[in-house]
Symmetry: C2
Subunit: 433 residues, 2 copies
């Protein structure tokens, strides 16, 4: 940090190095993302010299981009983000979102002394039950949010007791300065920026997974909440057995992942998952559940269906869909306009000149029964998936090639990352009560 | 009628014979239910002497019961209902529903002269498109309602033009004396009894089948509206072909019909159909459509599954159910209480100690995935149908025995009445546009 300030001075600008985040206040959870050092420059100046200083100070680094460029560096085995930011007077005057971070750091540091272990317990508990992290993939609690909860409730157990009584729309306002209404499941007013909800990224389901796990822990405490048994990759026999006990129809779609960070890929992957769900539902198929993930580590037997291009380092994206049935009847009911809308009714009847049944009036609407276009979910998917809106980077990737596995064909996918993913999907067990 | 009045006088009471209904005013449609002769007695006296007179005057008769007893007699090949009623001063003071009929007769007679053919055209049109008759089985237009529509719109074509513009909640109030609000799809205020809706039995679907057929007829008039081609019984090959083009799952349930008139049996039959639909839907099966009917004429190969008792003259009741699929996956999602309802959540989780998947939180609710009890629709039906609420007479009848046919097994049912019924079901074509 002193080297940064020296380099800044040498470069002719006033740069202040600030250690922010959990490491700065003794609430850093082992295994978490490492150190954050912010390089503050005065308001009104350029961030570029600070970025240049970051490049100079780091022995080994790559540049990354969030709202603006920063340096991800490696010092003695620690990963350190070196982030240029503006030093503003008041958190409500920030220019970029990162400018707020030093304010958070200052607010928490002044209040957390003596409560560090409570924060660490809470973070590990949240991690163990799968609700820690505010990135879209998790939709859970950020580290800052966990710290504010400990400040609010006084201890780890205090937070759990408080969460046991949460209802949707819960508001926590430490400084009593709530300044606007929010639609979010939970509102934690940012003590340094009254208009901001610290819990904006928290989903209803993560909020209440935490609340229900808190209640269960208070009744029956156990170490497993903090350190759940890791899922093992399912063997062929185990997977076959799990499929047989469900007798649903699992469909796996896989295609090459673009070589981009998870924060960019994951929102697109969720969007693709939703587009495919909607396609299947429009086609008349009932979904039980679905999930999606990015598997990077292990070589995948690409091309086993001769269609997918080799990944260029990004790994593979997998979307798993679980349907009630694989094949629908040929006859399909199509609902038309209300029978009293003369022009629409006429057009609807004329546009179905030779239906299997009908037209008839039901519930006041015109109905015809016609032959369904795609009887099988796999046919529907193969025919339509490339035309869906799948996100900026995923669409082109999928159109270059994909594999579809249906039912027992899923056994062909041996990748341990997938076998862990599907083990978790099939169990879906949360410690709630 | 003079014989009735003589017999009444001889029995020592003042009885007035009144010819009511369509025959009295030249709007009687051939093939319809025949003559109605009402035997009016002064208010405050007993109906029993009038019933006794009816028994005496009829050469051949049986007694029937609606709101009270009447005589159904045969005179020279005509079926005549002889109905005791009270002669009240004003239609709003009636004691039994039949007392209103002479008022209807008088109101229409005074206004319909010269329009009889218009009424006959309208009634035959309604009959041809399947919306004539206010009994529950049809839910359509009564003869009296058809007459009021001709009075309102002036002619057959006038009624069709009027109906083309109908909207739900349409009100027709000939005497401008609407006295209360109704929830019905159409309100035709009874000119002789302002609180009564003549169209109370008309369903939304019959109302707009008529409206949409009216529009189509005005655009493309044809005799077929009045006299549709009768459906022929489907041959085995035709039925097999129709099943193959749908590839849905048809299930037929049949059991002995109690020997009661259709007006008593049919409401119970519809109730049974709805109970069975609800059972299947609770079991997770999606219904495409269903229908039910009573087939009386033809000997049915009872006992082909060794279960049904021979009918005692009432024929057979048949409920036809069309499902998307015959078999569901074993895994079933079960939705519990919101995760924030502590006591309910705890009970829900504890009552599913070993689910296939879960518990987890979705949409704020707790969810578990468990093994479905009945995977096949036929198993579900055989196991549960006898325990359903099926109506006073139908429940005991079904519990004495029933047959279930699924898919191609339906070909075993050769009864031409059934083969016409299923031909109509599969076509379901209405002349609408």
């Amino acid at each position: 940090m002193s080297r940064i300030e020296e380099l800044a001075m040498a470069a002719g600008f006033e740069g202040e190095a600030v250690l922010v985040g959990s490491a700065a206040r003794g609430t850093w959870l082992s295994g978490d993302h490492d150190l954050d050092v912010f390089i503050g420059v005065p308001e009104g100046s350029s961030l570029l010299p600070a970025l240049e200083v970051a490049r100079l100070v780091a022995p080994k680094f790559e540049e990354r981009y969030a709202e603006h460029a920063y340096v991800h560096a490696l010092f003695d085995g620690f990963e350190v983000d070196l982030v240029p930011c503006y030093m503003v007077e008041d958190a409500s005057e920030i220019i970029s979102a990162v400018d707020r971070t030093p304010f958070h750091s200052r607010y928490v540091s002044a209040r957390i002394t003596g409560l560090e272990d409570e924060v660490l317990l809470l973070k590990q508990f949240m991690k163990g039950i799968g609700v820690y992290g505010s990135e879209l993939k998790v939709g859970g609690f950020s580290g800052y949010l966990a710290e504010l909860l400990v400040i609010r409730y006084g201890s780890f157990v205090g937070v759990l007791e408080g969460a046991s009584r949460w209802r949707p729309g819960e508001v926590i306002d430490l400084e009593g300065h709530l300044s606007r209404s929010h639609e979010d499941p939970m509102v934690v007013v940012d003590p340094v920026d009254p208009g901001r909800n610290v819990a904006a990224a928290l989903t209803l389901d993560r909020m209440f997974t935490f609340a229900a796990a808190s209640r269960l822990f208070l009744r029956e405490p156990s170490l497993e909440f903090f350190f759940p048994l890791p899922a093992s990759p399912l063997t062929d026999d185990e997977l076959r057995e799990r499929l047989a006990e469900r007798r649903s129809t699992l469909i796996l779609l896989e295609f090459a992942a673009p070589d981009l960070v998870e924060d960019v890929v994951f929102p697109q992957l969720r969007k693709a998952e939703q587009s495919i769900r909607a396609l299947l539902e429009r086609g008349g198929f009932s979904l039980l559940r679905s999930d999606a993930d990015c598997h990077r580590g292990v070589a995948v037997p690409y091309g086993c269906q001769g269609e997918i291009s080799p990944s260029e380092g990004g790994g593979v994206l997998r979307i798993l869909l679980e349907l009630e049935v694989a094949v629908l009847p040929r006859v399909e009911r199509r609902f038309g306009p209300p029978a009293w809308e003369e022009d629409h009714a006429k057009k609807f009847v004329e546009s179905h000149p030779d239906p299997l049944s009908g037209p008839y009036v039901e519930g006041g609407r015109l109905v015809v029964e016609v032959a369904r276009r795609f009887l099988g979910a796999e046919d529907l998917l193969r025919s339509q998936v490339a035309g869906l809106s799948l996100g900026r980077h995923l669409g082109p990737s999928l159109r270059r090639g994909y594999n579809i596995y249906m039912g027992e064909e899923i056994l062909e996918v041996k990748d341990p990352e997938f076998r862990i993913f599907i083990a978790r999907y099939l169990s879906a067990r949360q410690k709630v009560g």
